[in-house]
């Protein structure tokens, strides 16, 4: 290293810090915009909706963590996250479709989701990419989603292993979803993220990986003042949309 070093221009430091973070966060939006609806998706419960943090949710506040351990010589955390961002929809379990941007996960992008609820009810919803850097990315839910909050996907080195993680911070969106979560919804969510992580492991040829799960109830209290969230429920919106399909077919043809 040279003895002579350029003096540090401290005035530049805040700008660098802002630039570093600004590129990783989504730009502020009041309501979500769905530019293009891919075939198979509806976008009905996403366009025009506001984002909901756990503060706007109804149910108990949960932090659920899912991890899978991979040999560190197979993939580094940064390479894993780069791959995961690029191929995110491929790792979703069967029966659920994630319509992400073709260019991969990037801050501010809106992705549509077509899922199924118990009773074979269809659920059309979506997420926005809130944050993304080289080691993690976060998806945040809109009003009407099953839960209010976000899921952060990350990877880190632990000893000689690379640990891939999905961490959910959520409150059920409304009283009906809260009831549903306690009647199998949590199990279904565990299955979604557990399967996703196993699929990530399989991508690297690891077929005998096991998923570790931990759930912490951060707040047992329900936010009863948020019960009116039910009027924006994506489940209700999706059901009405399905019931109206014959009418759309008839009147759509006339138009």
């Amino acid at each position: 290293m040279s003895e002579m070093q350029e003096p540090v221009d401290t005035a530049q430091i805040p700008d660098q810090a802002t630039a570093r973070t600004a590129a990783n966060w989504a730009k502020r939006v009041t309501r979500l915009d769905v530019a293009e609806v891919p075939a198979g998706a509806t976008g009905i419960n996403v366009a025009g909706k506001r984002l909901n943090s756990p503060i706007q949710g109804f149910g108990r506040l949960w932090q659920k963590t899912y991890q899978v351990h991979l040999p560190g010589d197979v993939v580094s955390p940064r390479d894993l996250i780069a791959m995961w961002k690029q191929k995110f929809p491929q790792f979703w379990p069967e029966g659920n479709h994630f319509y992400g941007p073709l260019t991969g996960i990037a801050p501010g992008e809106v992705a549509l989701i077509e899922g199924t609820l118990p009773g074979r009810l269809r659920l059309s919803t979506g997420v926005m990419v809130l944050y993304a850097d080289e080691e993690s990315f976060t998806l945040m839910t809109p009003e009407g989603h099953v839960f209010a909050g976000w899921v952060t996907f990350s990877a880190a080195t632990q000893g000689d292993e690379t640990v891939a993680q999905a961490q959910v911070l959520m409150r059920a969106g409304d009283p009906i979803f809260e009831l549903g979560m306690s009647l199998g919804g949590h199990r279904q969510e565990d299955k979604i993220w557990g399967t996703t992580l196993l699929n990530v492991a399989k991508h690297y040829g690891i077929t005998d990986a096991e998923v570790e799960m931990a759930a912490v109830c951060v707040d047992k209290r329900r936010q009863w003042k948020r019960w009116t969230n039910v009027f924006k429920s994506a489940a209700i919106g999706s059901t009405l949309y399905m019931l109206a399909a014959p009418f759309r077919a008839v009147f759509g043809r006339r138009g």
């Binding site: 809130l130 945040m140 632990q158 911070l169």
Partner: protein, 120 residues
């Protein structure tokens, strides 16, 4: 999964506890932030000073949600000041601003909770 890269210094101003934050706030900051919060004790309000914040990721925002729950449990108000325009926008985007009172500076944050005549 990450290590702490921020410090949280607690000081008292009347019935408020001020937490001066320096460095990067990430999920790895949980233990030090909660330890700082415990020092706040029975303060009527907890005021977060973000003037020394250099970086915060989504894990850091998640920590603030957890902190808010703990503050609500103790019937404490949670306020913040010293946020850059960028992080103000992040608070608005994540709708944390609906539960955490955002102020321009320490004096106005303290005034909002009735602590007057002090503050920088």
């Amino acid at each position: 999964m990450t290590e702490a890269t921020a410090t949280f210094e607690v000081r008292r101003e009347g019935t408020a506890a001020l937490v001066d934050i320096e460095g990067d706030v990430t999920a790895g900051s949980e233990a030090v932030l909660m330890a700082a919060y415990d020092q706040a004790g029975d303060a009527r309000a907890v005021v977060l000073n973000f003037s020394g914040l250099s970086y915060m990721n989504s894990g850091g925002i998640g920590l603030l949600v957890t902190l808010l729950v703990r503050a609500n449990r103790r019937s404490q108000q949670l306020l913040a000041f010293g946020l850059s325009d960028h992080y103000r926008q992040i608070f608005e985007l994540t709708r944390l601003d609906e539960a955490i009172g955002i102020h321009d500076d320490e004096r106005s944050a303290l005034a909002a909770i009735g602590v007057t005549g002090v503050g920088r």
